[in-house]
């Protein structure tokens, strides 16, 4: 189980409703786009990853966007674009039916066979390697700039983002005292999952000046009471969507698995929107800037 999967399952129903509306809107809008001289020469894009879609909007290339996946929820306008389905269950003909010049995805998108099929139909497929680092954010920016033929804008954005990032990382590095142990809980469906190593959450905790309370395994595992007591997190970090799925913060704390943790005693909880928190997109510096003081406050 991964974060994108669960967050998207939550919004999928809403998207399905919106799909019909978006499809008819899109059909109406397409002839207009085709006539405008700008859209004629600029490549048409499909983005398969919420963070990549964010970059498209930041580069002002949303007019070139002909489709996005169901994890593309920000900015709000992205929700209205034609949806090509969940990032890991793409359909070759579905992608091609939107007549893109390029499909921009990450190595977490798939199935790989479908992307091969799209390539074999003569459409450029750009794959960004997702390794949960600042480099990933830079690569997303670079690849979108290239694919959208907006490289100058992408370079300018990169300079701005790099500066923001350097500033945030400086602040984190300057922090004094003990690093808080942070447990990331993902609970968009019935069984909560906790993040081990090599996850987006693990990397985010580190960048924000915390320590992942769990180690010794990779990926996500189901949350169990004894393991959580052993992990002894100072802070529980989760997504807004998890809280929403539980029906509020009170309900969330009622989870029996959390009762024996130091975080429970202080009710120390940090939540952010799932895409902002784990997306590794251009809002990454903002996410870290928001997390870091909360981490520090919890162990002060």
């Amino acid at each position: 189980m991964t974060e994108e999967r669960i967050s998207s399952s939550l919004v999928r129903r809403r998207d399905a409703l919106r799909l019909a509306a978006a499809a008819s809107l899109g059909a109406a809008a397409l002839p207009l786009f085709a006539q405008s001289p700008e859209a004629k020469k600029l490549p048409r894009l499909i983005t398969v990853s919420g963070a990549i879609t964010e970059v498209v909007y930041l580069l002002g290339a949303e007019g070139q966007l002909v489709g996005t996946d169901t994890t593309s929820l920000y900015p709000a306008a992205a929700r209205g674009t034609p949806k090509v389905g969940y990032m890991r269950q793409l359909s070759a003909e579905g992608l091609l039916s939107l007549k893109p010049d390029a499909v921009i995805a990450t190595n977490e998108s798939g199935p790989p066979v479908v992307l091969d099929q799209v390539r074999s139909a003569g459409v450029k497929v750009e794959i960004v390697q997702a390794d949960h680092s600042w480099g990933e954010v830079q690569r997303k920016n670079q690849v979108v700039g290239r694919a959208a033929a907006r490289e100058a804008q992408a370079r300018a954005l990169q300079v701005k983002l790099d500066a923001e990032w350097a500033q945030v990382q400086q602040r984190v590095a300057a922090a004094q005292g003990r690093k808080p142990r942070v447990l990331f809980v993902l609970s968009h469906s019935a069984s909560p999952q906790v993040s081990g190593e090599k996850t987006a959450a693990h990397a985010v905790i580190g960048y924000a000046g915390g320590v992942n309370a769990l180690g010794g395994f990779e990926g996500y595992r189901p949350m169990t009471a004894e393991a959580m007591a052993t992990a002894a997190p100072d802070i529980v970090m989760t997504s807004d969507q998890s809280i929403e799925a539980h029906g509020g913060i009170e309900r969330f704390w009622q989870r029996p698995e959390l009762a024996l943790t130091p975080a429970f005693r202080k009710r120390s909880l940090v939540t952010l929107d799932a895409l902002l928190l784990l997306g590794f997109g251009p809002r990454m510096p903002a996410a870290i800037a928001e997390l870091h003081p909360k981490f520090m406050a919890a162990v002060a």
Partner: protein, 346 residues
């Protein structure tokens, strides 16, 4: 049973249905290809491909056509295998999915995906789809043998035993796949999910040809089993009196079923209920003669899978529905109706 039609009429009807399903599948899809464009593509196919490289040509030849061929192969294989199973077990409820052959194949495929690196000296990728097909075949074969051994009693197989054994195997395979999904890396997990839902989306020519050949061979082999299966339908001792080598026929039927289901499942994941519905519909109009039911079920199964896949491809375009979900939506109500029909005999 309602009015019966002569076998030739039924075969012709099923072939027509398949032709209709093929035509429907060829003209519909998320990517709009108009009839004149399609005609041009088909014409240039006949002349050798190199000339035409229009987007329509690429979409049709690289994506839609292999998918149609895979649909035909998968549907024919499952329909044929379902008929063989029902003849072999002398039991209308035998279905590769229901008695656990598909999930046995899927479990074996799952083991290959997740643990392949352990037990194979070479990386799984280098052997490619062959490893998966062979493993899925092995999984399907062992489940078939197991179910058969468990449910046989004097003079045939016991329905309740067979279905219970099927439930047990399905549960075991489910648990095995669940265990694998905990061990799996993220990428492997995605491949596993694909098995459980079933899809023709992964149709590439290399894989399609492999499945096509496996299904074609098993259909040819199955054809020679039709007459002996008719004899077995009278009872095994009767069949032996008629000069049928019952044990040999059974062994062959089991191997043929496992080859067809293994090859199909290895490429498409679990597509349920086709093997159950197709033979039943055919028997309703053609009667129980396997010489008609076997080929007609293969044709009808192919048509069913093609139509379901066309719906899967277009209903939510540009996104896609999982095929196994659709066949289950059609298959489960059918199955419940059949339970009602056969309730006196279970």
């Amino acid at each position: 049973m309602s009015q019966r039609f002569p076998p030739r009429a039924v075969l012709a009807g099923c072939a027509l249905l398949l032709a209709f399903a093929l035509a429907l599948g060829a003209v519909s899809g998320a990517y709009a290809i108009s009839l004149p464009q399609l005609w041009k593509v088909l014409a240039s196919l006949g002349q050798g491909a190199a000339a035409d490289k229009s987007p329509e040509y690429l979409v049709f030849v690289n994506i839609r056509l292999p998918r149609l061929v895979l649909g035909v192969a998968a549907g024919a294989g499952l329909g044929m295998a379902g008929t063989l199973m029902q003849g072999l077990f002398r039991n209308p409820l035998a279905d590769p999915g229901l008695v656990g052959i598909s999930s046995g194949a899927a479990l074996a495929a799952g083991v290959t995906i997740v643990l392949g690196a352990w037990f194979m000296p070479v990386l799984p990728r280098t052997l490619g789809s062959w490893t998966l097909v062979v493993m899925a075949f092995g999984g399907g074969l062992s489940v078939t043998l197991l179910i058969y051994a468990l449910s046989r009693s004097e003079g045939g197989t016991r329905m309740a035993l067979m279905l219970l054994a099927g439930i047990a195997v399905n549960a075991l395979a489910g648990a095995g796949l669940g265990f694998l999904s905990v061990m799996a890396t993220d990428e492997q997990l995605r491949s596993l999910q694909f098995w459980l839902l079933g899809s023709l989306g992964g149709a590439r020519w290399s894989a399609v040809i492999l499945v096509g050949v496996a299904v074609l061979l098993s259909c040819v082999a199955a054809a020679s089993l039709a007459a002996p299966l008719n004899a077995i339908a009278l009872g095994e001792s009767q069949a032996a009196l008629l000069g049928v080598d019952v044990e040999r026929i059974k062994r062959r039927a089991i191997v043929v079923t496992a080859v067809a289901v293994g090859a199909v499942t290895a490429t498409t994941g679990i597509i349920g209920f086709v093997g159950l519905i197709a033979p039943h519909w055919v028997r309703m109009v053609a009667g129980p003669d396997h010489r008609a039911v076997l080929p007609a079920s293969a044709l009808l199964g192919a048509a069913l899978v093609l139509v379901s896949d066309t719906v899967a491809r277009t209903a939510m375009a540009p996104a896609e529905l999982p095929l196994g979900v659709l066949t289950a939506f059609i298959g489960v109500p059918m199955f419940l109706l059949m339970l009602r029909h056969f309730r006196g005999r279970i």
